[in-house]
């Protein structure tokens, strides 16, 4: 585990022959499944119409009309070809195996959508936009986890921090009638919990999972308490309004991706900004190196004169503030009012996204998009008239995380000293 510091630059060069063969078979099976499940029952001659403009924006591009059967067949053949290459070529796709797995998986989903919307029209851009929006709190929450865990402190309290921040942000914004105050109070709430979590787990060396659980229970209690006592009787405290989308000139005029990416509220832009800043900060600055070093090998860091406790406090605090920011999204960025237990486990999915993304900012963003897609698709299933229960799609993030954690699809590399309190040897 000592080599994890270089995990970012490390390339997995060797893929075992078994894994290569298993993956090849998996690709073939997916290809076959596409044909069997989606192409076979289709009647020829149908077309699928994909709307390419998200709702609320004037159409720039015309809808995409695809011949259903041909598209699905093509996707099935693509997966089959990829599977054969993986099996026949020496070493298969080597280190791109997981990428190819992603491609086949995406083909499967696309084939599913194409065949489900056969003869109908389906707003694909709307689905993509909703995916992005659902990925925002997950990615922000995952970055909260990364900041804390890269410094070696496990944070399962993201859920609780988000929930409380969602409430304080909403109340503060309602009272002051200024959304930015709401954001500020959300972040401050996160910081408060960060201090609690930090003091408990770094100073008092309380088990970090117990400390996190306590924060979750407390947050659940206090938000429901305040909501029942104040927010429900006095509605003026609980009507913050939301940030309106800001259209970025020129960029938002790009076909397809313009309205998707450049016509959003500040949370989406902030997420991208934080992603870049955190990525550069973690991997290309002295600050990031120090942060990671106390998470990997605190003793060595201490020997080099890095203040382990202070660095860990900083990581936990910044992470908690990020969680607070993510929490304020639920009220100020999405609904405009606070409901009891409104985060509904999103904090734990953030945790899952962090693990799935291998404790990397952009990896977590990818995971957030995947999980967000499952969430977005779940609410569209009824529109498509598909028989699959939406609950199974909502389950997907959790199942995928367990599979990744078990090492079936690549192993995630956690910081080596994650979860271990640091004890300075007494002098």
């Amino acid at each position: 585990m000592a080599t994890t510091t270089s995990a970012f630059h490390k390339e997995i060069a060797y893929i075992s022959p078994t894994r290569q063969r298993v993956m090849g078979v998996v690709f073939l099976v997916i290809g076959f499944a596409i044909w069997y499940l989606f192409a076979r029952p289709l009647e020829p001659g149908l077309t699928t119409t994909f709307g390419m403009t998200p709702g609320g924006v004037e159409a720039v591009v015309s809808d995409l009309v695809l011949p259903t059967l041909a598209t699905v067949d093509l996707l099935a053949i693509l997966c089959g070809v990829l599977g054969i290459i993986q099996l026949v070529r020496p070493g298969g796709f080597k280190r791109y195996t997981n990428l190819v797995l992603g491609i086949t998986f995406a083909s499967f989903v696309l084939a599913f959508l194409t065949s489900a919307a056969a003869g109908k029209s389906f707003n694909l851009a709307g689905l993509m936009h909703s995916t992005l929006l659902k990925a925002v709190p997950l990615t922000l929450g995952a970055m909260a986890g990364i900041l804390s865990e890269r410094a070696g402190v496990v944070n399962i309290a993201i859920e609780g921090m988000m929930l409380s921040a969602a409430m304080t942000a909403c109340v503060a914004a309602s009272i002051t009638d200024n959304l930015w105050f709401g954001v500020l109070f959300g972040v401050l709430t996160g910081a408060f919990y960060g201090v609690v979590h930090g003091v408990l787990s770094i100073k008092y060396k309380v088990n970090q999972i117990i400390s996190g659980t306590a924060i979750n229970i407390f947050s659940m209690g206090i938000t429901s308490y305040v909501s029942a006592k104040f927010l429900q009787p006095i509605q003026e405290l609980n009507s913050s309004g939301t940030f309106k989308p800001i259209e970025i000139p020129l960029l938002s005029k790009i076909p397809v991706i313009g309205p998707l990416l450049f016509n959003n509220n500040i949370y989406v832009y902030a997420m991208f900004l934080f992603l870049i800043v955190l990525h550069i900060g973690l991997f290309y600055t002295r600050w990031g190196l120090r942060l990671r070093s106390v998470g990997e090998h605190p003793k060595a860091a201490d020997t080099l004169g890095i203040n382990v406790f202070r660095t860990r406090y900083m990581g936990v605090l910044l992470g908690a503030m990020m969680a607070g920011f993510a929490g304020s999204y639920f009220t100020l960025g999405s609904v405009g009012r606070f409901d009891e237990v409104m985060t509904a486990g999103r904090g734990f999915i953030s945790l899952a996204a962090m693990i799935f993304g291998n404790w990397m900012p952009f990896g977590s963003f990818g995971a957030g998009l995947l999980f967000g897609f499952a969430d977005a698709l779940a609410s569209k299933l009824a529109i498509l008239g598909v028989k699959i229960p939406s609950q199974f799609l909502l389950m997907a993030p959790y199942v995928i995380t367990m599979i990744v954690l078990a090492g079936v699809v690549g192993r995630s590399q956690m910081p080596a000293a994650d979860g271990t309190p640091y004890e300075k040897e007494s002098t």
Binding site: N216, G345, G419, T420, S426
Partner: protein
């Protein structure tokens, strides 16, 4: 403890994370003291933690009562009086709600009218009903702790237990109660056990940390229940996601007449607590399990299979939590609905720590939480304090039990001879 100046501190051997954790969980006062004194000493921190937790709850109540602020604007003394009134009325209602009113009980007992007696003891028995799932769930987490495992998934196991128990409860027809009820109850244990087996097996085989897997399984259980209750297990003709009612032959029998709901589940819970105690401390298997928790490498050296120990411990922990779910379905609700548990699984972590991971301690802690929960219902009605205050109190208690240093600092207690600072569980990835 860096500010402690101890010259020539002896070199402490490097402890395994599980070992330190078990020491914390099973900390016992020195042996040379008489038994009652040892028990007293072991109870100091939990009792003070509970007391401090209640005080913190009181502070929250004061801070959120508008009358207090109005009174403070008049004069300081008035403010203090208003604060006292707010807390006294809230906690007074809590006590009456939890235990019943003493005068009413005496009057009822004198009259000898069973109906009046039932009315009078109703609050107390209701607290016991509320404590029952806590006992099962607390035992679940405590058993995990003993094996060095962190079962944060009691909530999901509870849901699976409830689903299984409910399913058997309404589908199996035409059996007498002494066959149907045990099968339904055991089905609950099997459902929970399955949900405990999965993370146990994954940990033993791949090293995947049980904390993450149990969290994930919690949510999988919620979604699965949601699907079952809106789909295959939905009550015909009902608009809500709720299962059909279980048959009479699957209901846990009640001891008294209406309205007292105290049922056999409570006795089963006590019995199971005793069984867990016997298993952990009087049998070879229990010893093996505790050895796996205390020192996996020593266990391996002694020929105990660590993998098997982990799987067994998680499965048993899951089964215990599943019984909590089965108990709620078969004894209280008589059907399965999504809202049947309000965080028993998470409170169970506090229970296990509060009870020092001993079955007796868990039972006592569960009784306390049962009283709190039941009393809070009345507090909400009478004093207008939302029931969620008990979650806040429980969170405080959890923090104080987990960080005895805080309690020691507040009450200026001396540090005990036994080291008890660090509570450790390894990181995420296992190994």
């Amino acid at each position: 403890m860096s500010n402690q100046k101890q010259p020539a501190k002896p070199e402490t051997p490097k402890k395994d994370a599980g070992q330190i954790f078990l020491e914390e969980v099973t900390k016992e006062p020195p042996r040379h003291l008489p038994r009652w004194q040892r028990m007293l000493q072991a109870a100091v921190i939990p009792v003070l933690a509970i007391f401090t937790g209640m005080v913190m709850g009181g502070i929250i109540i004061i801070l959120t009562t508008p009358e207090v602020y109005i009174a403070f604007r008049e004069s300081f003394v008035q403010g203090l009086k208003a604060s006292w009134d707010a807390v006294a009325s809230a906690y007074g209602a809590l006590l009456v709600g939890a235990f019943g009113s003493p005068s009413e009980i005496i009057v009822a007992l004198r009259s000898g009218n069973p109906e009046l007696i039932y009315q009078a003891i109703y609050p107390f028995t209701e607290s016991l009903v509320a404590a029952t799932p806590y006992i099962f769930a607390g035992l679940s987490v405590a058993l995990g702790f003993r094996a060095g495992l962190f079962n944060i998934g009691a909530e999901g196991q509870l849901f699976m237990g409830a689903i299984f128990a409910a399913f058997v409860g309404y589908t199996l027809k035409g059996f007498p109660i002494y066959i149907h009820l045990p099968i339904a109850f055991l089905a609950g244990a099997v459902g929970g056990g399955l949900w405990g087996f999965i993370p146990g097996w994954l940990k033993a085989k791949t090293g995947a940390h049980e904390v993450i897997n149990t969290i994930m399984l919690n949510y999988i259980a919620f979604r699965l229940s949601d699907w079952l209750l809106t789909g295959p297990m939905k009550r015909p003709g009902s608009a809500n996601p709720v299962s059909p009612s279980i048959l009479e032959s699957a209901k846990l029998p009640e001891f008294f007449g209406d309205p007292v709901r105290l049922h056999l589940g409570f006795i089963i819970a006590l019995l199971v607590a005793w069984l867990v105690h016997w298993y952990l401390f009087k049998t070879r298997w229990g010893f093996n399990l505790r050895t796996v928790g205390a020192n996996p490498s020593a266990a391996r050296y002694a020929g105990i299979s660590v993998a098997a120990g982990i799987i067994i411990a998680m499965t048993l922990a899951g089964a215990l939590a599943g019984m909590a779910g089965g108990n709620e379905v078969l004894g209280v609700n008589f059907n399965m609905a999504m809202a049947f548990s309000s965080g028993y699984g998470f409170d169970a972590i506090a229970l296990a720590l509060l009870g020092n991971s001993t079955p007796l301690g868990v039972v006592l802690a569960s009784l306390l939480f049962g009283f709190l929960r039941n009393g809070a219902t009345r507090m909400q009605l009478v004093a207008g304090i939302p029931i969620d205050i008990i979650s806040i109190i429980q969170a405080f208690i959890l923090v104080f039990v987990a960080a005895p240093v805080i309690i020691r600092t507040i009450y200026r207690l001396r540090k005990p001879a036994v080291e008890e600072e660090a509570v450790l569980v390894g990181g995420w990835g296992g190994k």
